[in-house]
Subunit: 257 residues, 2 copies
DNA sequence: CCAATAGTGTCTATTAGACATTATATG
DNA sequence: CATATAATGTCTAATAGACACTATTGG
């Protein structure tokens, strides 16, 4: 508290919070190459990075990575710092999405938790997992969380569920799909990533729509090679597929237009 | 802090926040009936409710209504409580949208502010303004904020700007327009409310689109009277206009469908 | 009959949606 | 030549977008 004018200021007789942490739901999409006989798309799964707690409370249980903020940084900076400490990655997509403050949520006292989600390439996390004590870091499929035998510390189950809802919504409304993709990708990869996050997403004429639709266009553009010819990839198929990239422009979606 | 196991617990030697308030951006749309010779639509304007501070810091300046959370309530409950204390209204739309924690943002110390926006009918606020010391409560057009002579306390200018962005986005993606409308409304009223919040929204064939579009339909439905006939209103026009209501169902918007 | 809102007519180009069909290249 | 992905063909109904036009009724 600064000194100036503090004479007439009457706070200080009230209880203040015991801490304000940032907790981070780190999402990644794992890709498992199953079919070895023919080229094929990998099997993808949406996963969350958790850390096994070493200290009271909830000692030995899995929890979100995170840590307390201090008075020299904003909550966003706390999130960034913790994200880097836990995964070693910077410059990835991280977004604040909610605050968790229900009385009793943390046995240590009055702890107001600020939740972020981050979207990270699988490759980045692989390093981390290998580097440290691997037993204390785990990647869990979103669907298997909360099952018997895998209860999480604090209200982290709820936080993760809320985060999943957030990225499901944003996956369809924004271009965050690119956080899970290389710069240049095929439409099947994109489709697969969308479906991995939003399981009931289904679009029969996906390829055609993404190519044609002038209104929706501007979101994606086909990649050309140095000679100006369409650039293709046959990484996932015998027949080469056109590569696309996100343009950065975003149409304004609306109920009323 | 609970006592159990606290022996091995090492927090307490760090500085803790000096307070965690909820601040609320209360939006309303005012309607001014200008034309007295003929029936016409009112002139609408998006406004924010502010309160003149009586105490240090920023004494005498306009600020968002809000107040400190306590350890017996969640931040959302703090928001609800403050909203009711300031305006007397309950059961209105209120949503959390961001946290403000930049060091130095509050001269009283380390104060982490949690920002909500609320959408309230003009009528509700009119009561409040009449009841209390009217000089301390003001409704300000969003556009006139930040002008010379109307600087706001703390970082509240920024908070309001962020809130405006939020409701602009949500106005087009969700049915929050209904928070500013009566249960039954004409399409012109709806169109006007959208434009009041999102000034560059323009849709030439708005009426036709809202009627036809089967895909988008399900959002609105025409109101029928007790005889099953289309219910119309000529409140704003000579020729009676069909009344509509929101159905509650929401199509899933998507970049990719 | 004017003003102000509430619609409808009409036209073309584009899109949606469902399904069938063809294309490519590698093991 | 089977397989897995990558498209295109085809058809109908619906929609978008622009602009002109008609409808209603109190004052």
């Amino acid at each position: 508290m600064t000194e100036e004018n503090a004479s007439s200021y009457t706070v200080g007789k009230y209880r203040t919070p015991d801490g304000a942490p940032a907790d981070i739901v780190i999402f990644t999409i794992t890709a498992e190459h199953t079919n070895r006989t023919t080229k094929s798309l990998p099997k993808r799964e949406l996963k969350v990075l958790l850390i096994k707690r070493k200290l009271w409370p909830f000692e030995g249980m899995w929890a979100l990575p995170g840590g307390f903020s201090n008075d020299k940084e904003s909550m966003y900076e706390t999130g960034r710092r913790e994200l880097e400490e836990e995964t070693g990655v910077r410059d990835v997509h991280m977004e604040y999405f909610n605050v968790y403050s229900k009385p009793g949520r943390d046995p240590r006292g009055w702890i107001i938790s600020h939740a972020f989600f981050a979207l990270v390439h699988e490759d980045f996390l692989a390093q981390r997992k290998a580097a440290d004590d691997a037993a204390d870091v785990g990647l869990f499929a979103v669907n298997e969380l909360g099952r018997p035998g895998l209860e999480l510390a604090f209200d982290h189950q709820q936080i993760i569920q809320d985060a999943v809802e957030q990225i499901r919504s944003k996956m369809l409304l924004t271009s965050i799909a690119k956080e899970f993709l290389p710069d240049e990708f095929t439409l099947s990869e994109l489709y697969q990533v969308i479906q991995t996050v939003v399981p009931d997403f289904e679009e029969a004429n996906f390829i055609r729509k993404m190519k044609s639709t002038q209104s929706r266009s501007g979101v994606l553009e086909p990649v050309l090679d140095t000679k100006g010819e369409p650039k293709k990839s046959n990484e996932f198929s015998q027949r080469a597929a056109q590569l696309y990239r996100f343009t950065g422009s975003m149409p304004r979606l609306s109920l009323y237009s």
